[in-house]
Amino acid sequence: MKGLLLKDFYMAAKYCRTYILIGIVFIAVSFAGTSGENMFFVFYPCLLCGMIPVNLLAYDERSRWLEYSGTLPYTKAQIVSGKYLVGIIVQGAMLIAVGIAQAARMNLAGSFQFGDFALFMATIFAMATITSSITLPFMFRWGVEKGRIAYYCMIGFVCAAGYLGSVFFTGGTQLAVSRGVLMALLCLAGAGVYAISWFASIAMYQKREVA
């Protein structure tokens, strides 16, 4: 397992360092404004980091590492888990960086409130985990190319569902939940989706014949 993680970090350092740079630049740019209009610059680095495990898997497939790893003393569950652990580490690091930046930004604006800050962090945590959670199981089952098609189909489905939802619930429904409950729901949703995706990927990769 240690070897798998080390390999992924060597690869991330080589292929994904631009992601880290973009993240740092975006965080820096988010300081330019103190109100909500720069939230994109805060969310985007986390979404970008969510794509790192997906990209590493694509590089693995291109170099035929997936095939080679089948000859090494790793189980398929370990091969899958390596990618999810890398995801946790890089997204965790970026969340911490974004959190520090956001706290500093709110302090500078004199608007820091722990409740707002915690809700903000819970929101970006949930958003950051979604990207790789949806994509990875498909990619582990059908390979990167077919996995991407499945991902786009899923996005299309989610958009269509969202549109239909907006048509049927035009009146707008206020969620009668407290900020604390909402925060807990977001954290649970993010962690839950990631965990389900993890188990789904293991199950799907077990079925795949990599050769």
């Binding site: 240690k2 070897g3 060597y10 690869m11 590089y59 095939e67 080679y68 089948g70 003393p73 014949e209």
Partner: protein, 280 residues
């Protein structure tokens, strides 16, 4: 103990099937898998490693079923695939560190020794390597973690004759230990002829024969004679025949040939080529 036992191994694809393959590789021996492209050599190796799911049959590696604790088994198996799938951005030093975190018995000194023997650069990324250099790195990894069984799929492909000779010698040294064994597939039959104790011919997913190499060479010979002389030999002893205006060339079982007929030795490559032609 046998290093590898395969019984009735079957795997079907839409356009190909491996048909009830049975092989036994005793410990301390080298078996060469010979077959044309698509004969099932790589499929066999991938089935042994559990990379493909077998439809039927059993595989025992170093005394363990390949479904029980394959992870532990793979600690003791060194593998070189026809395409060495190491990440392109890694250099040999990084590959060593990754493998040290992968194999319990990783031997860094042995790895460094083989890299030096092969003149592989330490700092260059894998993607800049030629096919031969990639193969050498794959061999270095396979031989640096105390493997008892090497599974080699076309390991000498892309190597120049001098390096090929060195590699074959390394494999030969490996099997000096009676607990070490090799299953090797190659198109370069001359390499297998130098190295192997056993030869298995695969053709269209079927095993044509599996015998000791010396036994094969002692059993078969090339006969050049007139057509009527060949007619006098038991037809079951004639493996292949080719007629020309100057006479007949035939691969025959030596025992069936009467004294006095010109019988010459045959190479494994000739035997394989003629057997496949006969099958067709």
């Amino acid at each position: 103990m046998n290093a590898l036992e395969i019984k009735n191994l079957t795997k079907s694809f839409p356009d190909f099937s491996l048909d009830h393959l049975s092989l036994t590789l005793p410990s301390g021996c080298v078996m060469g898998l010979i077959g044309e492209n698509g004969a099932g050599k790589s499929t066999t190796i991938r089935l042994i490693l559990g990379m493909l799911h077998q439809d039927a049959g059993t595989i025992t590696i170093l005394g363990r079923d390949n479904h029980e604790n394959i992870r532990l088994t793979k600690e003791e198996v060194g593998v070189v695939l026809d395409e060495v799938g190491l990440p392109e951005c890694l250099n040999t030093r990084q590959v060593g560190k990754v493998m040290a975190g992968t194999f319990r018995n990783w031997n860094q000194q042995e790895y460094d020794r083989i890299l030096e023997k092969f003149n592989l650069p330490q700092g260059k990324p894998f993607k800049t390597f030629s096919r031969g250099m990639k193969m050498k790195l794959g061999i270095a990894v396979a031989m640096s973690h105390g493997a008892k069984l090497l599974l080699l799929d076309e390991p000498t492909g892309g190597l120049d004759p001098v390096v090929r000779d060195e590699v074959v010698e390394m494999f030969s040294d490996f099997t000096r230990d009676e607990n070490h064994s090799i299953l090797i597939s190659s198109h370069i039959v001359s390499d297998l002829e130098k190295l192997c104790d056993y030869i298995a011919f695969l053709h269209k997913g079927k095993l044509l024969l599996c015998e000791e190499k010396d036994q094969l060479l002692a059993e078969y010979g090339m006969l050049h004679c007139a057509a009527h002389q060949l007619e006098a030999i038991d037809p079951d002893a004639v493996i292949y025949r080719k007629s020309s205006p100057y006479g007949v060339q035939a691969i025959v079982k030596r025992q069936a040939v009467p004294d006095g007929l010109p019988l010459s030795p045959i190479s494994i490559e000739e035997l394989f080529v003629f057997m496949v032609k006969e099958e067709r």
